[in-house]
Amino acid sequence: MKVLSEDRTRILFEKLTKYITSITTQFLVIYPNKVHSATKNVTKVFFSYFSIGVNVKLLIDRPDGTYCFREKKDRVYYISERLLQLAHTVKPEHLISAGTCFGKFTKTNKFRLHITALTYIAPYAPYKLWHQGVVVLTMSDVPIGFGVAAKTTAECRSADPLATVVFHQADIGEYIRSEDTLT
């Protein structure tokens, strides 16, 4: 569990912002190499500015404690700082997972959201951002995946039954299909 580099932090926040909110705000991050404390990744003291979605900020500053993003083997975990400290007692080679895996950085240094992040981005996803990241829900409001919209709302209304509405990115079936690669 190591702290994300500044570069990767920016990529991550951009990605999340795309899915979670359209309104951006400035957010400051302290890095352990810049500040003595190694435990605090994100604080309200600004050392480098990120433009992140308002709702992304909500992910980090939560009423039940501060949460942070940590990286392990290119995978980004979203974990409360309290739990993180406990997780540090486990040797890295024995640590399989801690908190929630949000996604991974590809070899080309792009960030790919995993279905496991659905729980967190679903509540904040604004449905009206078309041609952007969208979250797909069932008729009973159960989130089942996310992707990129292929048509505008108006087009969707008149689309034929077999038309593609959303380009698939992730769905909850992956819990079964790709259990091994999720984390």
């Binding site: 007692t89 640590l95 399989i96 997972s97 929630t100 496991t116 984390t183």
Partner: protein, 951 residues
């Protein structure tokens, strides 16, 4: 095409060429037993006759009226009595004259009850009775049973007399005896119908009763009697009358049932013990099944049912073989099961183990509620129900039109497929919010996610599993179910106390043989043997101790450990818990599960702690869930026993184990696999070693420091002695290198140098030897021999001085732990080395100078080879010379405690890496300690020289 009985006579089965030529005739029912609810249509002549009868009766009725009016003066009661009396008289001599008597009575009744309907009723009655009597005539004639014509005739008359009824009854009973088989069904049917019909007649007027009575001969008896009663107590309500009737009927039924029973018992075949030929050539599974049943009944009442000259043993052996064949178990497992269950229950268990348990799912309370989930699944066509009052999250799935493991709800993490029995350990654990909880063997994460759900994602949950592949399943399930407070890690559970401690609660769902889930994995039936069980409970004991060590007794809310397995073998359950009770500061507490059977406190020769009653067992055949065992422990104090206590504890343990038959002497360890006792003994010792090591590791540093200090103090004196010794030894450096193991040599040297101390040591060793003698007479003898040799043959020492030095050094490291006598010995020898103590052993050796590094290395190698030759890989002599020394010491003294302690010290002194390797190796070795000792024992007997040659 089955044969169709003509139950419905209106539909006639087609007969013709297409039909089978030979056809079984339709079943013949006795006419009496057939009940005709609907009066048959009357023929023309019958109608005419009936009309005549009616005429006659009306005339008679008028006459009677006249008579009655004449009698009006007589009091009612006397009237009734007289009538009743006359009635009985009539019973015997029944003639047409009596018609008058009988009729009027009824008419009277009718008058009293319903004067208006009087006439019409009486007419109807007469008609009806006549009709039915006629019908019965026909029936009787048609039947082969040969009812006398007289009876029929009398029946045809107004009313059958009670006597006749009795006769009929007797007759039926006779028939009963003759044709038990045939009659049984029909008879019971008739009874059933009768009883149904009764209430109606009871409700109806007494007149109607008369009718119904004549319908069926059998009925007639009771009905007539009741009629007589009716006459006596006219004021009785219809319901009361019905009640009386019912009671009588029940009495009769009982009588008949008893008779039937006795007939059946008499007919029962006594099970004949099969001949050897029959046993060798089993015919079919059905036969075997039948035989199993028979043997079970015989075993149920052996004294009465057993064949002459057969013992219970023979029957149980036969049963064992049959069960093995029928259910395809291996004999070992079946034998074990037979020891757990009484025979009847065993068959139930085996039967239940053949069928799968119902599919159950657990609602993920983090994401949904059970009601919502049930609704959603019902909408998808799933048929389900709550699992029971004991669980608020469980649902039983009876049937489903969709795959239950792939619904959107499942993928969204609203539920997880989990056996009902898996809820139990978590319920027993009763996790609280904001606690720190450990699931030691978590894969695939069902129970762990249950814990997280109960904690509502607060606190911290450590989900550990030793299998890295299976941890992926944990991660997958956790993410799907939305568990975010969890750390998933991959450690051997036994190492976990070194990673992190201080958990409020620990759940250990230990790996087991799976004898409780045979329905899920039938391979258990054939693949498990004594060794598997042994392996399992060894591991389980170590894991349980580790789990206890991880737990924090001072936790304000917790300090609980729950131990569970999906096995039903006491070896893996009660015994393991019992072991932990002895070794750690824990006590059993109620599991808060209000069902399940109590754990065993006795099992075969074992007597467990009485508090093991508080544990819970679950069986497939009694609770319809997988076989399971749950024990809840509370840790009441943190500190693990101190080193000294450990020794004592170990000694006690060994003693206890000896008493219990738990621990076997070293010699038995390997060869005793076949014996049941053997497995037991082994585990106890191995386990002891495990915890000690851990403790030792922790204490290593402290010990080292102490050692150094003490060593420095004593070193000067010792050094002098040592130097002298060394000089002597050093003079002959080469042999040391050649001699891999200095165990014996060390002993020799020690004995020579400090004779006084040696004497003490010898005494101690002898004592220990005596202890061991009980266990292994041979091994002890060999030990004694070696000791004697050592003492007697100073020459040996001179031959291998270098070895001695090495050994001494090694001993030095160990002194504080080992027996005082040994320590003293080792100290003088090792004193020169003391300066080096802080450095690893290798360095010490080098510093000693006399022994070259090469020599030491060669020694190591030699030792390794030796260990291999010993042929006990696990037990194999430690890689480092120190270990060997210890082992040898052990052989001499056979005090395991000292061995382990020495081990620890040695490991401490080694370099970190070396120490690490050693630890691992040591652990393995310790697990198999007994074997190692074995090998060692044999070697010392052979003598040092042989070893050399080998090397």
């Amino acid at each position: 095409m089955g044969r169709k009985a003509k139950f419905d006579e209106t539909k006639k089965v087609k007969k013709g060429p297409g039909r089978k030529a030979r056809k079984q005739p339709d079943p013949i029912f006795r006419k009496e037993l057939l009940d005709d609810d609907e009066p048959k249509k009357l023929s023309h002549k019958q109608k005419q006759r009936a009309a005549k009868r009616v005429k006659k009766r009306t005339e008679l009725a008028e006459k009677r009226k006249a008579l009655k009016e004449a009698k009006k003066n007589v009091a009612k009661k006397t009237e009734v009595e007289v009538e009743a009396g006359s009635d009985e008289e009539n019973v015997k001599g029944f003639t047409d004259d009596n018609k008058e008597w009988l009729k009027p009575k009824k008419a009277q009744k009718a008058k009293k009850g319903k004067p208006k309907q009087e006439e019409s009723e009486s007419e109807d009655e007469n008609q009806g009775s006549d009709d039915e009597n006629e019908v019965s005539d026909e029936e009787n004639e048609g039947s082969d049973e040969g009812v006398s014509d007289e009876e029929v005739d009398s029946d045809a008359d107004v009313e059958p007399a009670p006597k006749k009824g009795k006769e009929n009854y007797k007759y039926t009973v006779k028939m009963f005896m003759k044709s038990v088989f045939e009659t049984n069904n029909h008879y019971s049917d008739d009874l059933f119908q009768d009883s149904d019909a009764e209430p109606e007649t009871g409700d109806a007027s007494s007149d109607e009763e008369g009718d119904s009575s004549s319908k069926i001969e059998y009925n007639s008896d009771s009905d007539e009697k009741s009629e007589a009663d009716d006459d006596e107590d006219d004021d009785m309500l219809p319901i009361e009358k019905a009640n009386l009737k019912l009671k009588k009927r029940q009495k009769q039924d009982k009588k008949l049932a008893d008779e039937e029973m006795q007939i059946n018992i008499a007919k029962q075949d006594v099970f004949a013990f099969p001949s050897e030929e029959e046993l060798e050539n089993p015919t079919s599974l059905q036969d075997i099944h039948q035989r199993i049943k028979d043997v079970v009944t015989v075993l149920g009442d052996l004294n009465r049912l057993k064949a002459e000259g057969r013992s219970r043993c023979e029957y149980t052996e036969l049963l064992l073989k049959d069960l093995c064949m029928y259910y395809s178990y291996n004999e070992f497992l079946m034998e074990v099961l037979m020891q757990i269950f009484p025979v009847l229950e065993l068959v139930e268990f085996l039967e239940a183990s053949e069928t799968a348990r119902p599919v159950t799912i657990r609602t993920n309370s983090l994401k949904t509620r059970r009601r919502d989930l049930a609704q959603a699944l019902i909408n998808r066509g799933v048929n389900l129900d709550p699992v029971g009052k004991w669980s608020k999250v469980g649902l039983v799935v009876y049937s489903s039109t969709v795959p239950i493991g792939a619904t959107p709800e499942y993928l969204a993490g609203h539920y997880i497929l989990q056996g009902a029995s898996s809820y139990l350990p978590v319920m027993a654990l009763a996790p609280q919010e904001n606690e720190r909880i450990l699931d030691m063997a978590a894969a695939p994460g069902g129970k762990a996610s249950h814990i997280a759900a109960i904690m509502k994602n607060t606190g911290a949950l450590f989900a550990n599993d030793a299998n890295k592949d299976r941890t992926k399943a944990i991660v997958g399930n956790f993410h799907r179910l939305g568990v975010v407070n969890a750390v998933v890690c991959n450690y051997d559970g036994r190492e976990f106390p070194q990673v992190i401690k201080g958990f409020d609660r620990v759940l250990l769902d230990a790996p087991c043989t799976g004898t409780g889930v045979i329905a899920k994995d039938p391979s258990v039936k054939t693949t498990k043997d004594q060794k598997d069980i042994q392996r399992c409970f060894n591991l389980q004991r170590q894991l349980l101790l580790a789990a206890i060590d991880c737990c924090n007794a001072k936790s304000s809310s917790g300090g609980y450990i729950v131990y569970s397995t999906c096995s039903i073998l006491p070896e893996e359950n009660e015994w393991v818990v019992n072991y932990a009770l002895k070794r750690r500061n824990v006590k059993l507490v109620p599991t808060s599960l209000d069902f399940g059977t109590e754990g065993f406190t006795k099992y075969r020769q074992h007597r467990f702690h009485p508090s093991l009653k508080l544990t819970r067992r679950f069986y497939p055949h009694t609770h319809n869930m997988d076989g399971f065992f749950v024990a809840k422990l509370k840790k009441f104090s943190n500190p693990e026993p101190v080193a000294d206590e450990d020794e004592e504890g170990e000694k006690k343990e060994t003693e206890e184990s000896q008493e219990n038959g738990d621990a076997e002497p070293e010699g038995n360890s390997e060869g005793s696999d076949t014996e049941k006792k053997a497995p037991v003994k082994r585990p106890a010792q191995t386990k002891e070693s495990g915890p000690q090591k851990k403790k030792n590791k922790q204490e290593q540093q402290k010990l080292q420091q102490k050692e150094n200090q003490a060593a420095t103090a004593n070193n000067k004196k010792k050094k002098q002695k040592n130097k002298k010794n060394k000089q002597n030894k050093d003079t002959q450096p080469q042999p040391t290198s050649g001699q891999p193991e200095g165990e014996n040599v060390n002993q020799f040297k020690q004995s020579k140098k400090t004779k006084g101390s040696n004497d003490k040591n010898e005494q101690k060793t002898q004592e220990s030897v005596k202890k061991t003698q009980k266990q292994n007479a041979q091994s002890t003898i060999s030990d004694k021999d070696t000791l004697k040799k050592n003492i007697q043959s100073p020459v040996n020492d001179t031959q291998s001085p270098g070895r001695k030095n090495k050994k001494k050094n090694k001993k030095r490291n160990a002194p504080p732990q080992s027996n005082p006598a040994q320590v003293t010995e080792s100290k003088p020898v090792a004193s020169p080395v003391n300066s080096n103590q802080g450095t690893p052993n290798k360095n010490k050796k080098n510093k000693k100078g006399n022994v070259s590094r090469q020599a030491s290395q060669s020694n190591d190698k030699a030792q390794l080879t030796e260990s291999k030759t010993v042929a006990s890989p696990v037990k194999s002599n430690p890689v480092t010379p120190n270990l060997n020394k210890k082992d040898k010491k052990v052989n001499a003294s056979t005090s395991k405690v000292s061995q382990t302690k020495a081990f620890v010290k040695i490991t401490e002194t080694l370099e970190k890496k070396v120490a690490h390797k050693l630890k691992n190796k040591n652990k393995k070795k310790q697990i198999g300690q007994l074997n190692a000792n074995k090998g060692k024992q044999t070697k010392p007997g052979q003598g040092v020289g042989k070893k050399f040659k080998k090397n």
